[in-house]
Amino acid sequence: MRRVAAMLALAGLSGLAPALAATNAGRAHVPGGSFETVLPPAAGVKTATVQAFDMDRTPVTNGAYARFLVSHPEWRRDRVARVFADAGYLQHWRDAASPGESLARQPVTHVSWFAAKAYCETQGARLPTWYEWERVSAASATRADARDDPAWRQSILDWYARPASEPLPDAGLTSPNYFGVRDVHGVVWEWVLDLGSMMVSADNREQGDPDLQKFCGSGALSLEQKENYAMLMRIATLSSMQASFTSSTMGFRCVAGGGAAP
C-alpha cells in the first residue's frame, strides 16, 4: 500500500516534469508547410503537409531515459512485458536501472517503439510522424530541403557505409541543421509514431505492383524519388522493425505541437 502511494507520488512528480524536461532538452520550432515526400500520401499526390511543431534538438540520451525509468520502473528491462520490448531491450546498459557513465550522454538505443512512445508521453510530447521527421531530415545546415544536393546525400550514405560495431558518439555533437535540429543523420535511426501505417512491402522490388495498394494502406504506395537512397534506406529499416523490436542503432526523439494527436 505504501509502495503504491510512493509510485503515485512519483507519477505525480512526473506529471510536473514535462515542462522542465522540455526546457532542458530544448526543442526547435519547425514551421508548418508542404514538401515533396518519398512516401506519397495518396495515389497521384506527391506532397505532404505538416503543421508547425517543436522537435527535440537532440535524440533522447541514455541518461534521460534512465531518469524516466525512475518514475516509470515498469519500463526497466527486468520488469518490462516482453510484448512491449524484445529480449535486446536495454541489454547494453550496465544494470537494469542505469546505463553506466560512458553511455550516459549517448543516444539511447535498444529501445522499442512502445517504450519510446511511453517516454515521449511522459514528457507531454509524442513521437514525430514520418512526415514531420522527413521534413526535418530533408534539411542541410543551410537549406530547408537539400535533397537535390548530391554531396549532402553522399554524406548521409557515408554513415550507412560505416559498420554499427563502432561506439555511438554522444548526442548533439553534429552541427545543427536548418531547423536547429542535430543528429538527424549520421548517428542513429529514429522511431516514428506512424510506424504501422508506413509499411512498405518486405520485398521492396514489388513497389511497382498495383495490387499492393489493396492491403498496404495509404502510406505504402510506391516510393517516389527512387534516387533518394538515403531516405529509402531509412524507410527499409523502419519497415523491418516491429513495435516491440529493438536494435543497437534505433533511437528516438520527441515532438510537441503539430497536427498529430499525442
Binding site: D86, G88, P150, R153, Q154, L157, D158, Y160, A161, R162, P163, A164, S165, V200, S201, A202, D203, N204, R205, E206, L223, E227, Y229, L232, M233, I235, A236, T237, S239, S240, M241, Q242, F245, T246, S247, S248, T249
Partner: protein, 497 residues
Amino acid sequence: MRQWLVSGLAALLVACGQQTGSSTTPAAVAETGGSLRGDFGPPQGEPVKAVLTSPPLVPPPTGRHAPAKVIVELEVHEVEREIAEGVKYTFWTFGGTVPGSFIRVRQGDTVEFHLKNRPDSKMPHNIDLHGVTGPGGGAASSFTAPGHQSQFTFKALNQGIYVYHCATAPVGMHVANGMYGLILVEPPEGLSPVDHEYYVMQGDFYTVGKYREKGVQAFDMQKAIDERPTYVLFNGAESSLTGPNALKAKTGERIRLFVGNGGPNLVSSFHVIGEIFDKVQPEGGTHPQENVQTTLIPAGGAAIVEFHTEVPGNYIMVDHSIFRAFNKGALAILEVAGEPRPDIYSGKQADESYLSDKVGSLAAVSTAAEAKAAGKLTQDQQVQAGAALFKGTCSVCHQDQGQGIPNVFPPLAGSDLLKKTPQRAVEIALNGLTGPITVNGVTYNSVMPPMSQLNDDEIANILTYVLNSWGNAGGAISKEDVQKVRATTKRPEGAAH
C-alpha cells in the same frame, strides 16, 4: 501386365523419338522435366544441418539418395575489411565473406532456411535465392531487422547452380556491398567425381576514391547508377585468389569451378588463360557445352566449368573484358604443380629476329660482318648490308625510298639534318627519339624507339647505306663511331623495337 505394356510402349516411343531426333540433330539430349519432376516426395530421415563453406571452398557432395530436410543457418554480418592493399571497405555479407557461404543441397530436398541478422548490423537484410520456387525467392519471408532472425522453408525443385542475394532496398547497394553467393542444387544422381571443386564469384564495386586509393573508401551511389565500377573482383578482394591465396591443383587432375556473378551491373566474360573448358554448363543450366574458351556469365547468374590439367604453371582467370582484369582487379590464379609436359607445351624454344618478307637476302649482312672482323670492310659492302637491314627495320616508318611520311615520320632522303650532323643519326638510332625534331624546315613530333636489337656493326652499315642513297651526300659511319656514341650517351633500359 498392363504396366509392362505401358512402359514397353513408352520405351518404344522414346526410341522412335530418338531416332527421329538423330536424323536432324546429332545428339538428342534427355530433358530433366524441370520442377514438374523435381518433387521426390516428403523429406525422409532426420533433418540434416547443411555444411556451409567460405569461398573458395565448396562443401562435399551431399551423398544422399533420398530427399531430406536440410537446415541452413546463414548469418548476415556487416564487416570492414580490405578490398585492395591499404584500401578498406565496409562489406555487407552472408556468412562474413564475399561471396557468401556456399550452400549445397540435393534436388527434392526441403530446405529450412534461417537468416540471422547480427545485433551489431545497421541494416535490415533479406535473401532471394534463385533456386527457390515461390514469389520473391524468399525475400519477403526473410526480411530481418538487426538483432533478429527469420525462418522460411522451400523445396528445391530444380537442379542447378543458383545465385542468392540480398533484396532489401536499395537492392543495388546491398548487392554492390557484397551480398550474394551460390547455392548448388545437385541433380538426384549427384555430380561426377572430380579432384577439386572451387567457388569463384565475380562482383563489381563502387568506391568514392579511385582504384587503389588508400584509406577507408565509402560506397559511391552515383558511380553505381552510372555503372562505372572502381573495382571488378573475384571473391571480393584484389588478393583473394592470388599469391598465397591462389587456387591449387596438380597436373592430371579434374577441376570443377562454380563461377557466379553477383554483379550488380556487369556481365562477365569468364576465361582461364591457357586452358580450354572441357565442359561448361552455361548459365548454370543442365546441358553442357564442350570445348569452350570463354563463357558469358550474366549478373545474377552462374556457370559450372570443368577442365583437366595437363601442363604445370600458373593459370590466370580473368574477366576477358580485359581492362577489368588488368585495371580493376578481375584476376585470379590457379597454380598447377607437376612435371613439365614438353610434348604438349614446349615453353619458349627460340627467340630470333624476324624481318618479314620485305627482307631480301641477309647474306650481305653476314659478309660485311665477316669483312669487318677481318679488317677488310669496304664502303660498298657496308652499303649492301645496310640496304638489307634498312628494309627490315627502318622502311616501315621512313619508307623504302627514305621519303618518310609527311608530317609523321621525317624523310631521310635529302635530309639537311643528316648532311649537317651525321653523328646525330647514330645517337637517334641507338637511343631513340621522343619529341620535336626539324628536318628540311618541317617539325615532326613522333616517337622512335631505340634500336636495341641492332648491334654496332649493323647500325654503322644502315647509316652508311642511308648516307649513300637517295641523293644524300655520301660518307661512312664506322663501327667505332657507333661504339663511341654508345659509350657516352644514355638509352632507356630494356627498350626494344
